[in-house]
Subunit: 299 residues, 2 copies
Amino acid sequence: MDLSRTKITIKQLSQEIGIGVDTLRVWERRYGFPLPHRDRRGHRSYTTKHLEELRVVKKLQIFGQRPSAIFSLSPTERHVLLEELLNTQRPENKSLEHLVFGMSPQQIVVELAEQKKRLGLAEFVKQTVVPLLQLIDHGWSSGRLSIAREHLISDQLTALLKAELSAAACPVRPQVLFLTLPGERHKLGLLLAAVQFQQAGVQSLLLNEELPLSEIPGLVAELAVEGVALSFSSHYPSRQAKHDLRSLRKSLNPAITIIAGGQAVQQLPTMPKLLVCSDLQQIPKLVKRYFKKNAMGIC
Amino acid sequence: MDLSRTKITIKQLSQEIGIGVDTLRVWERRYGFPLPHRDRRGHRSYTTKHLEELRVVKKLQIFGQRPSAIFSLSPTERHVLLEELLNTQRPENKSLEHLVFGMSPQQIVVELAEQKKRLGLAEFVKQTVVPLLQLIDHGWSSGRLSIAREHLISDQLTALLKAELSAAACPVRPQVLFLTLPGERHKLGLLLAAVQFQQAGVQSLLLNEELPLSEIPGLVAELAVEGVALSFSSHYPSRQAKHDLRSLRKSLNPAITIIAGGQAVQQLPTMPKLLVCSDLQQIPKLVKRYFKKNAMGIC
DNA sequence: ATATGGATTTGTCTAGGACAAAAATAACAA
DNA sequence: TTGTTATTTTTGTCCTAGACAAATCCATAT
């Protein structure tokens, strides 16, 4: 009944925290952490302790801290710093805390559905979904919330929002295709954006899989959509996002609008017909400006 | 409008085909393939051609061919061999071919929903879903079906089956938790199994995310389920599957049944309370034997 | 036919070096 | 003061070439 003595390889560790194998090795070389045991072959062998400490490191990194700063701190100091950073942007909603930490899966789904019904979709997203995602992030990083519960909740949330998306099945113009590139695991942000676009009068087609860049032009042509929306979470290397977008712009029909969202696309070089959408609040405006001028939804 | 001259790094290539970076390098060293260009730094730079040829290689590998055999063939010979292997197990259903290759996404969803309604869930799975998955695999490997279309269809299918799963919301005993481990990207097999179990009278809780091994015991206790089902596709290294299951068995409450499914779990050492389910057809029997003896669904 | 034991194949790991892109810092101008 | 540009440091990813256990194949013996 105890996994704390389970040894894992560098590859498994890499997969579980989302940090490359090479990076883990070079961190060890440069900063002396994480410093694993070795098996008789000389292969690195990590423990659950390393995993937990690296989750803190990862989270600090997402908050903008650089490795040199992170590793000059002791594990305890790192934890303290993380708590501080979290406190600067803690969401208020108390009822959500109850939902996140206390409820059973069945209760969660009922509660969410009820809130959606009561608030209406737009308000539900604003008042419940967005704070909920923040809270999940917080709970996850400070260790109060298990990864299992995090996944449980985001899974239920995904189901709920997806149902919303497919409900409006009448083919409206314009249509936008929503997808992620290989390596991008966070699909909730994309889903949220798709729902918002749909609310604003665009027909959102969500492809909930990671699609190679080279497949996009063909699919766009086949589906005859007006735009493609890509989501790049904070885990996605921003330089690669940049490169991907440039590459896509070159290979795609110039008439197609590209929409890029997520934390990884803050500063991007301007490109023809590229909309950068770093905030979900902007979406209604964006749609009005770029999509609704020459196209009407006739239903 | 042309991506064939797009250069990609070894990491990107690795992600797109699901073969490790180290493996790609050692294949080049040993067999001389794939042999990429180099940029001025000496870094490997692959093209779309490499990608396509490697997809054939990967597919041959899944068919049980070993690298030494695969790489002793020319690209053309490889393609021919793949076609031969595919022809040995081609599904019959002509109406499905039409669905897979011809229809628009909207048509697909309508068609699938209709078939499900007409056949009933059990028959729908048997007559439509399973052959459909086979056909998708075939089309994908022989290059007639784009990856985009493959994803499109499996996405729609997922939505349909998931709706089915959450429809029966009344809490029935026994409950089984369905999930995948980190690194396992193929979630359709798991979903299919969950649906079958649900049909057989088990309450299936599907967690559509990759959950670290160490999180499972806690979640199982929290949800108070009777069993955990894991799916290991042909992409998952079978030795790791073996290790994972052993590790899980040790850390989990001995009263909990573990169910392992997928192509990667053919020969497994016997373990207490471990059910190996290599064929979806067995599921009703399995449920009757191991779950239904002392538990009734009272609704 | 079935088990056993050795030979071969295969994927993943190792070390330590290299370098471009990104970020921080310094230098300078308005 | 603020803003721009050049210089330095940091950081992630790639490189080579070698090692080895686990998996698989193959030949021999029961």
